[in-house]
């Protein structure tokens, strides 16, 4: 019951924020130099055609009315035509979003699966050599943009030692009918184990490059939280009752530190979505982020608006999920009887 209340409040806030995002993007898109009608029609249009298009795009109406049309179109799922691909923006997003999500989700899993344990080890051996090594390494991973790590990884594991593929999502000899757009899922639907392995092989290096700075962030955060947890009386109590250090670390310290970590890791998801712009470019990954770079470079207005809206919505939904997860893990929220 309480989760539901909390969820609906969060959902309402999310919708409100999404509304704000749409205003922000709309304003940015309208203050840019250049005539959207002229851009949409291309180089050979006559003045009369441009005037006609201006009416079609409602550019002759006041800003407020323009925004109303913009939101109306959004709700109808009509984001206009992309100049970059000559197709409806929604078609593009539908085709490219799964590839980016696949990459980002895998990177997120790596971030948690590697970052959290690293942070826990670092906190557990605080002040000893393992801690120092992990701290310096994780600080280094957050100190270079992901495109630098991507280049380093490609150079080492694709060029010099050809262990991993250079581009693409699956071996070219394997054709998988798209169902969900997630290659890892589609290969399984098609019952192609070789395809699944090939897709995993292709996604591994980009996802790892993308996750590196996230791993660093997650590890540093977990370390700080766990050190905070180690100072809590209940850890001393566990020690007083003679539980082994390993049991204390795994059961008494890790789980309470996980809660604040997870909340922030939700924010780190934003960083992953952003960094995907850099990583997809290097790995020629046919995702929404690479598309985003393309359309931004080409000032493809409709596509920019669509891409930014979708990425923001994805990010907000991801945070909502993290929030839900945290409330499931955190009994304080689940049974918030006295605490609030």
């Amino acid at each position: 019951m309480r989760i539901l209340t909390r969820l609906s409040i969060r959902l309402a806030t999310t919708v409100l924020v999404l509304f704000g995002v749409s205003v922000l993007i709309f304003l940015i898109a309208r203050i840019i130099p250049g005539d959207p009608a002229r851009i949409a029609l291309g180089p050979r249009a006559s003045e009369a055609q441009v005037e006609q298009m201006r009416r079609t795009l409602h550019l002759d109406e006041p800003l407020f009315a323009q925004y109303a049309h913009f939101v109306g179109d959004l709700f109808r799922g009509d984001l206009g035509i992309s100049l970059y691909t000559n197709r409806p923006v929604t078609t593009d997003i539908a085709q490219f979003l799964p590839a980016t999500l696949e990459l980002v989700i895998l990177a997120g899993i790596m971030m948690i699966a590697i970052g959290l344990p690293l942070g826990a080890i670092s906190a557990r051996y605080r002040g000893r050599w393992a801690d120092h090594v992990i701290r310096v390494l994780t600080l280094m991973t957050v100190s270079a943009p992901s495109f630098v790590w991507a280049v380093v990884l490609v150079l080492l594991f694709s060029y010099y030692t050809p262990l991993f593929p250079i581009a693409g999502r699956i071996a070219e000899t394997i054709t998988i009918p798209p169902v969900t757009g997630f290659m890892l899922i589609d290969t399984l639907i098609a019952g192609r184990w070789d395809g699944f392995l090939s897709a995993l092989h292709h996604v591994f290096l980009p996802a790892f490059a993308l996750s590196l700075s996230g791993i660093g962030q997650a590890a540093r955060l977990t370390r700080a939280n766990m050190i905070g947890t180690y100072e809590q009386p209940y850890i001393e109590m566990a020690q007083a009752y003679g539980f082994s250090e390993r049991r204390i670390a795994a059961r008494y310290a890790f789980k309470p530190s996980l809660i604040p970590s997870l909340t922030i890791i939700g924010l780190d998801f934003a960083a992953l979505l952003g960094n995907a712009f850099l990583v997809e470019t290097i790995f020629a990954w046919p995702g929404l982020s690479r598309y985003g770079v393309g359309v931004i470079l080409q000032k493809d207005l409709n596509a920019i608006v669509g891409t930014v809206m979708i990425i923001s919505a994805t990010f907000l939904i991801a945070n909502l999920i993290v929030d839900l997860l945290v409330s499931v893990i955190n009994p304080r929220i689940r049974y918030a009887e006295r605490s609030e």
């Binding site: 806030t13 409100l16 924020v17 999404l18 704000g20 995002v21 205003v23 922000l24 993007i25 940015i28 898109a29 203050i31 840019i32 130099p33 701290r135 310096v136 600080l139 280094m140 957050v142 100190s143 270079a144 943009p145 495109f147 630098v148 280049v151 380093v152 490609v154 150079l155 060029y159 010099y160 905070g228 934003a270 960083a271 979505l273 952003g274 960094n275 712009f277 850099l278 470019t281 290097i282 985003g292 770079v293 359309v295 931004i296 470079l297 000032k299 207005l301 920019i304 930014v308 990425i311 923001s312 990010f315 907000l316 945070n319």
Partner: protein, 276 residues
Amino acid sequence: MKRTATILLGNPLSVLGLILVGFVVLTALLADFIAPYPDHAGAVVDFVNANKPPSAEYWLGTDVVGRDILSRIFYAYRVSLGLGIVVLSIATPIGVVVGLLAGYIGGWTDYILMRITDVFLSIPPLVLALAIMGLLEPTLLNGMIAVTAMWWPWYARLVYNIARAEKVEGYVLAAEIIGGGRMHVMFREILPNCVPAIVTKMTLDFGFVILIASSLSFLGLGVQAPTPDLGSMVSEGTRYLPDSWWLTVFPGAAILIAVFGFNLIGDVLREVLEPD
């Protein structure tokens, strides 16, 4: 202040950080004197020496039009540092004012300001900067605008949380009772308590501004040629991999050195200035 200095100098990690940052700052300031080819920061082409691997003459090799990469890195540091200073000195005051207003006055002011902040925070930072940058002309000034737009909300959040906690503290109540105006309470009483957290964040952020700016220019949305810029040097170089690795690897390492230095210092500062 003195205590901070003592602590920074007493920790091997922050000493390493100070050395790295010192190196970056010095090379940026003294680029005119220490760069082997100071004119290579500008519109110079020397096709005879184009794309040469590292040698005694060009320590880090030359780029595809024959310019010394080491010299260009020094000048690129100058651009990065300038960008960092400008962005933080605009973003911080905006964020601080918004955070103080929302945190101290509360009520509707709080709600509206913080929802606006949420809007900015809910677009992944790099994406927001990219969108702004993509829609404007790619100039250094617009780059700064784009990065600033994504930066201030974080300071607003930080100051907001502190201001909310401090406004119920005794000294604030005391100041209100003796008739201190809102401005007085916000800027004279609460703000000083936010300073340590702000300073720490700024140190850490200096590195991140460099990182974000290099990401923008990596995607072709940053500083325009011939101004040297680390991100565009990497991006330019990736086309010539794996043969001409020096075009990519050295500018990439240069980013790492600068950001790593600031992060090391910021990390130690955080432990000292924010004990919890």
